[in-house]
Symmetry: C2
Subunit: 250 residues, 2 copies
Amino acid sequence: MPADLHAFAVAGMPEVSPGDDLARLIRDAVERAGRPIAEADVFVVAQKIVSKAEGAMIALADVHPSSVAERWAAAFGKDPRVVEVVLQQSRRLVRMERGIIIAETRHGFVCANAGVDASNVAAGFVTTLPRNPDASAAKLRDALRAAFDRTVAVIISDTFGRPWREGAVNVALGVAGLQPFLDYRGRADHHGRRLQTTVIALADEIAAAAELVTGKTCRTPVAVVRGAAEWAGEGSGTMLIRSPSTDLFR
Amino acid sequence: MPADLHAFAVAGMPEVSPGDDLARLIRDAVERAGRPIAEADVFVVAQKIVSKAEGAMIALADVHPSSVAERWAAAFGKDPRVVEVVLQQSRRLVRMERGIIIAETRHGFVCANAGVDASNVAAGFVTTLPRNPDASAAKLRDALRAAFDRTVAVIISDTFGRPWREGAVNVALGVAGLQPFLDYRGRADHHGRRLQTTVIALADEIAAAAELVTGKTCRTPVAVVRGAAEWAGEGSGTMLIRSPSTDLFR
């Protein structure tokens, strides 16, 4: 375990538009902030700016709501075009009640509104999740590695609600350059007993730590988490999606 | 938002036994480690040592399994006495299948085995969750405040699994001296649009950050998270339990 962990927000990121070079924007902001990047730093990048840069945005004017979207929207005071986008982004609806849609996305994430979001987006648009968050993370990792001449890792994150607990927490959708799990299985505790089920979702905990220093209303969609060098390696965010065959709540 | 967040493990904690003065053990370890405590530091303390100090341990020799515990244990190769303790600690069983018990505890937490755990406990014993984690946190906060002459906060934490995602993450069971939520509702994004549902489970994210610097096999059940001063205040871990009336998965 690292003795210390350190997280800081990358201040001064500009508004991101389709086609923008995220690695360049991040490098420029980091340099303006005068915070040198270290070997094995983890960049935690909000899904929202990745979606914007990749053009994963939908103009509501182009959306034609289905009848189910129309009825649901009318019942709960929603925009039927937004509901339609949610349905289109879903592989399966896990819950659809009380005005809330918990959906399984085409990637396999289970989250509210299939990750479709209108906050911090220009009026008339919504963002959808990146098409392949692991690929987005790998591409950004390569570009940041080149930009900083350091072997860094990247997590593409989003805040998800949870059953049973109030409030959302930041989780890792896409991962590159980092082992997503800390696996204690088979290790002994200090009574010499084998630990049973102790796999820690490391990438999710790093995303959570990063969220503490960023802010949804402060234009700081990027944070750096330092102290994770021992977990450098290969892995993906897809590995964090529980297989339907072992999921008791899907 | 704090510009920076810093977490470190408190090395050198001894084995904890019933009746031990946790605040004194933590103070001694912190002083030996030579790490000064700052105003508004958050101590994240693993549930396991709180349970041990409070005597929330059960000798399996004293447990008489019910017939349902016997049958379940036989079917899945479990210790029937441990299964019996799990049932006794439960208010309701949310799932009981494939050898897995997801239970709602008497506090309202939903977790595997109702928080009953045999790891890092002497053979023949299991720990149960603290009877009142918020009261445990408040008591420890008061004692640590006196020990360090600093206004600190305390989180009593445990690692919980999640539906839909692999791996466990550390969450806050008991909270004292800290606002458990960051509530962005009603604030505007930078397009001037009101943010809809954005309540962040701050205490859970701090617990997650702490978990990154502690380790289940390394005898470091205590971490300090620094940089949370703006969230000092009053709150509880109970507030993080989603009300059954708004929970779609309970």
